[in-house]
Amino acid sequence: MTDSFSDALQPCYADALRFCRALCARWSPSEAEDVLHDALLKALRGYDRLEDPTRFRAWLFQIIVRTFRGAARRGFWRRLVSLQELPSGEAFPEVFHGPEWCEDRLSLLGALATLSPKERAAVLLFEVGGFSIDEIAEIQGERTHSAVKSRLSRARSRLRKQLGTHSAPRAAATNARRSTCNRTLDHETLDAINNVY
């Protein structure tokens, strides 16, 4: 079972990591690792019950969102771990401690931290997870698309305000400018997003 789970995880592993780190923007790398650890354990335990393996990606991101929400609700108590819950086997690897995850490089984290958890999740599901409005609505348990659209709109305008006061990484900005000129707008939800703005 672990092998098939790992195989299913591998293609979306990098996005899941980025998503999780950015979702836990307010927290330290270790706390973000705790969320990822719990989410992966939950996913591993529930993998047998996943009926449609093609939905693995959305299912995994949904688990991460729920685990993050649970950790945020627990607040202070999430820092304390019951002795019984201490892992007896191999420790979870330090995935967010490398230089590529430092906040100087990812200045977006500071701006994301100012968003509400739901707004942060919505914008990251769209930008990092690459999910459509439909899928985000499903993951976030929303009945209407308009709720997700307005959430995305609010989140983006707040991010723009926050990032307006900080300078973007110069090279990244140049690359992004160059790349956006060459890209084609082939995403099916672009029209929907455009309506929002």
């Binding site: 490398g98 930008e127 991010l159 956006t180 890209r183 082939d186 995403h187 703005y197």
Partner: protein
């Protein structure tokens, strides 16, 4: 449906800075750690299987042991039943009383104390002190009179000082102390000391362990109204996830039972705190509350 290029929104194009920041996040190298996570997942999966097998073995052993010895099973059941029904005694603080002295006759003292907005005149008792002056100059209180008037040595006097006692339903000791301090600051108040009123309560162990409290309402209210009021007040007290159940007792009286993780400590305290906030609650009864 997946994006082929998540960043290619018109907003990103209009806002290259935002796009650059997301691009930096999307290009954060993450795949290097996958082999370590994979090996951790394998280990976690093995542990999970081992733990499940251990639990299954333990529960099977207990079941086998009990089934093999019906006498032991009966004894265990009896011990369990007894543990649940044997009454346990606990001291519960029912209320607080702030008692003290004031340098005014009862009527004036009552009016002075009632200037505090939270003083309920119905819960306030004021008695005039009839004092006797000894030849050496000391004074002793000889009697307490409700009217504040007394006849001493054939002379009618109005008592110059009074004793008061105010019953407070608040269960938070700190709040009661703060109120006692406020009372001490009132003009002519000589002293104001808070004291808890405690009662020994005996309840079956099972009931004492219940995560519940019961409220009795003085006037009949529709269930929805009660539920709404309780919900509003619990939200005000930052208690979430509390469930409301309606209980009809053997004598036909109806009570509300609150249970759930939102009630965090001191069941009796919580019950009285709720009682003090919700109008129409005649009495509250609570057994120990645990998360």
């Amino acid at each position: 449906m997946k994006h082929s290029m998540p960043s290619t929104t018109s907003t990103d194009r209009d806002d290259p800075i935002l796009a650059a920041h997301f691009e930096a996040l999307r290009t954060a190298t993450a795949v290097e750690s996958f082999p370590r996570v994979r090996s951790w997942l394998e280990e976690a999966s093995r542990n999970e299987c081992r733990q499940r097998a251990r639990w299954r073995a333990r529960s099977a052993r207990i079941v086998r042991l009990l089934l093999r010895h019906p006498v032991r099973l009966a004894a265990a059941s009896a011990v369990l039943a007894a543990a649940c029904t044997i009454p346990v005694a606990t001291d519960e603080t029912l209320a607080y009383v702030i008692s003290g002295r004031i340098a005014e006759p009862p009527a004036a003292a009552r009016a002075t104390l009632a200037t505090l907005p939270w003083v309920n005149p119905e819960q306030l008792t004021v008695l005039g002190e009839v004092t006797w002056k000894h030849p050496d100059g000391t004074e002793t209180v000889e009697a307490y009179v409700e009217s504040g008037e007394a006849v001493v040595d054939g002379r009618k006097i109005i008592t110059p000082t009074s004793k008061f006692a105010l019953v407070l339903p608040y269960s938070d000791a700190r709040e009661v102390e703060a109120r006692a301090r406020m009372m001490s600051g009132v003009k002519d108040v000589i002293s104001a000391v808070p004291e808890p009123v405690q009662q020994k309560v005996r309840r079956p162990a099972l009931k004492a362990a219940l995560v519940a409290m019961e409220l009795e309402f003085s006037t009949p209210l529709p269930d929805s109204a009660v539920e709404r009021r309780i919900g509003e007040h619990l939200a005000g007290l930052r208690m979430s996830g509390v469930q409301v159940h309606y209980v009809t007792r053997r004598d036909g009286t109806r009570a509300i039972r609150l249970s759930g993780p939102g009630i965090v400590s001191g069941g009796a305290d919580d019950a009285r705190r709720i009682q003090s906030f919700i109008e129409d609650v005649q009495s509250s009864r609570a057994v120990r509350v645990s998360p």
